[in-house]
């Protein structure tokens, strides 16, 4: 039986990891691998695992564990590795503050406030859900309007159902998965409404979560009003042309629950306090190829840096961050990056934002538009064919030193363009 109670805290560490989701656990394992001795993972929840604990559906770990696991299984496997490796874990503990010398201020019910010193820090705080305010939905402030991830936690961990008849706004994966989840729990799901002309979730989720249960997906449609006194009674939906709703074709839909699945934003309060440099597109800190942020000795990984659709990529990226944090703690850093990546045609962003021409890198990116039969081009040094790309699916590419042998510039444009 896996017990995850906090272990004894030491006053100083080689690496402290903030956040015990898959990113935090991966970073801790990476730090150990690179020789860091004293490693601590801190999580504010009563157990480590992050958002995986509430994602009870399969679809995790095909790359990393070579089999398909549910979220809790993936979390538990990882946690077993963490606990095997003599990594300290403080749950029920919140990281309040990091100062300029990487001292970590920690608050917990059991141990009170502690200030620990650390040679390197890894930020792995995950993400937050966007709420109603982010899209300025009009209407009354009723109960029954909540984010899809919160509903997921209520249903899957706490055993609470949000209502009886639900409308879902946004076709991100969380919304799609909750459409199926609520249906299986006996809640009537009237439909999923998406303002964009294309779905935002993975195709497989549209099949398994909507088609399987005959739940309609209304593209280019959004919620334009919310009605009710105390409790939600109905929403008004309308088709949109671009972002302008056509009120002549609006429709009132009775429901007692509205789930918002309108995206995640990196949780970056700590990163802001530290005055790190940010990428305006990802809303996360800028990172070098070592996953180091703009502040020496502070690394970041997982959804804090950019929103991932697959946890396997989170694991890869965070083990890299952890290894480099471990190397930093031992004073053995690799040479700094010498090439900046510039997002070009149909590329919204690249992470990391800079690379080094002397070693292999995995670069993650997101496209702005769906496209079929495309060519991913790195400046004029390398190109690769890709069958199709979707904004909902992160694209990744291995960049190898041999691609860059003839390249002597300091910035490289990345384009995803149609094949001629």
């Amino acid at each position: 039986m896996l017990i995850t109670n906090p272990k004894h805290l030491k006053p100083d560490y080689d690496v402290v990891v903030v956040g015990g989701g898959p990113a935090g656990m991966g970073a801790a394992i990476g730090a150990k691998e690179s020789g860091a001795e004293r490693v601590l993972v801190v999580d504010r929840e009563k157990e480590a695992g992050g958002v995986l604990l509430q994602c009870i559906h399969p679809g995790f770990g095909l790359h990393h564990f070579k089999e398909e696991l549910t979220g809790p299984e993936y979390a538990q496997r990882y946690l077993e590795q963490v606990l095997d490796q003599d990594i300290d874990l403080a749950t029920d503990s919140y990281v309040l503050d990091l100062d300029r010398d990487n001292r970590v201020k920690l608050m917990s019910g059991q141990a009170g406030v502690n200030v620990l010193s650390s040679k390197a820090v890894v930020l792995a705080m995950g993400a937050r859900e966007r709420t109603r305010g982010a899209i300025r939905t009009p209407g009354t402030r009723v109960s029954g309007v909540l984010t899809a991830g919160l509903a997921q936690r209520f249903v899957n961990m706490m055993g609470l159902l949000p209502g009886n008849r639900a409308v879902i706004l946004g076709s991100g994966d969380i919304g799609l998965i909750m459409a199926r989840r609520l249906t299986l729990e006996g809640v009537e799901v009237v439909g999923v409404y998406e303002i964009m002309p294309h779905a935002n979730g993975l195709n497989r989720n549209i099949v398994q979560c909507l088609h399987d249960f005959d739940i309609p997906l209304h593209l280019s449609t959004t919620v334009v009003d919310i009605h009710g006194g105390d409790r939600l009674e109905a929403v008004t939906v309308a088709p949109v042309d671009g972002f302008t709703p056509d009120m002549s074709r609006s429709q009132r839909i009775p429901c007692d629950t509205l789930l918002l699945s309108i995206g995640l934003i990196p949780d970056n309060e700590l990163a802001r306090q530290l005055n790190l440099r940010f990428d305006p597109v990802t809303s996360g800190p800028l990172v070098a190829s070592t996953m180091e942020t703009s502040k020496d000795g502070v690394f970041a990984c997982g959804n804090t840096v950019h929103i991932h659709d697959l946890v396997d990529f989170v694991s890869q990226e965070s083990e890299l961050a952890g290894r480099n944090a471990g190397l930093y703690a031992r004073g053995q850093q690799p040479p700094p990056d010498n090439i900046r990546l510039i997002p070009g045609e149909n590329v919204a962003y690249c992470v990391p934002q800079t690379i080094s021409s002397d070693r292999d890198h995995t670069v993650y990116m997101r496209v702005r538009q769906p496209m079929e039969n495309c060519l991913l081009r790195l400046g004029d040094v390398y190109e690769k064919k890709i069958r199709f790309v979707l904004p909902a699916e992160m694209v990744n590419i291995k960049v190898r030193p041999k691609f860059l042998q003839q390249f002597h510039g300091d910035s490289l444009r990345v384009d995803i363009a149609p094949q001629q």
Partner: protein, 128 residues
């Protein structure tokens, strides 16, 4: 028997085998699958054939727990079951109440609905 003059009927599916979501075309002649196209791997071929004839799904849901760290235990079918049984399985699981502690892999419901498939815990649930 198939003859050269018979035209296959093509149905489109989206493979759910992995996040790639390959677009499959399944050719059927008189109720028999003759070809699957568009798959990037063998699992896609198998999925296309199965989906066309008798679709199956893994089911993940939760079961009520007493004395546990959380009120619900996440569970999954060890294998896919016929798609039309998903609702009935969830109804059957709603009638259960488990006691913590429970270990990952413990059988929560054996041979669910006579499908030959077990429903198992997908995490440890320690006593709180």
């Amino acid at each position: 028997m198939t003859t050269a003059t018979q035209q296959p009927e093509t149905t489109h599916y989206l493979c759910i085998g992995c996040p790639m979501g390959c677009r499959l075309e399944v050719d059927d002649i008189e109720g028999e699958v003759v070809e699957v196209r568009g798959n990037s791997c063998r699992r896609g071929d198998a999925y296309g054939r199965q989906e066309h004839v008798a679709p199956k799904r893994m089911v993940t849901t939760t079961v009520r727990v007493e004395n546990g760290r959380w009120a619900r235990l996440p569970v999954k079918t060890r294998d896919a079951i016929p798609k039309e049984l998903m609702g009935a399985l969830c109804d059957a699981l709603h009638t259960l109440t488990l006691q913590a502690p429970i270990s990952m892999g413990d059988v929560v419901l054996g041979n669910a609905l006579d499908t030959g498939v077990d429903v198992v815990a997908s995490r440890d649930m320690p006593v709180e």
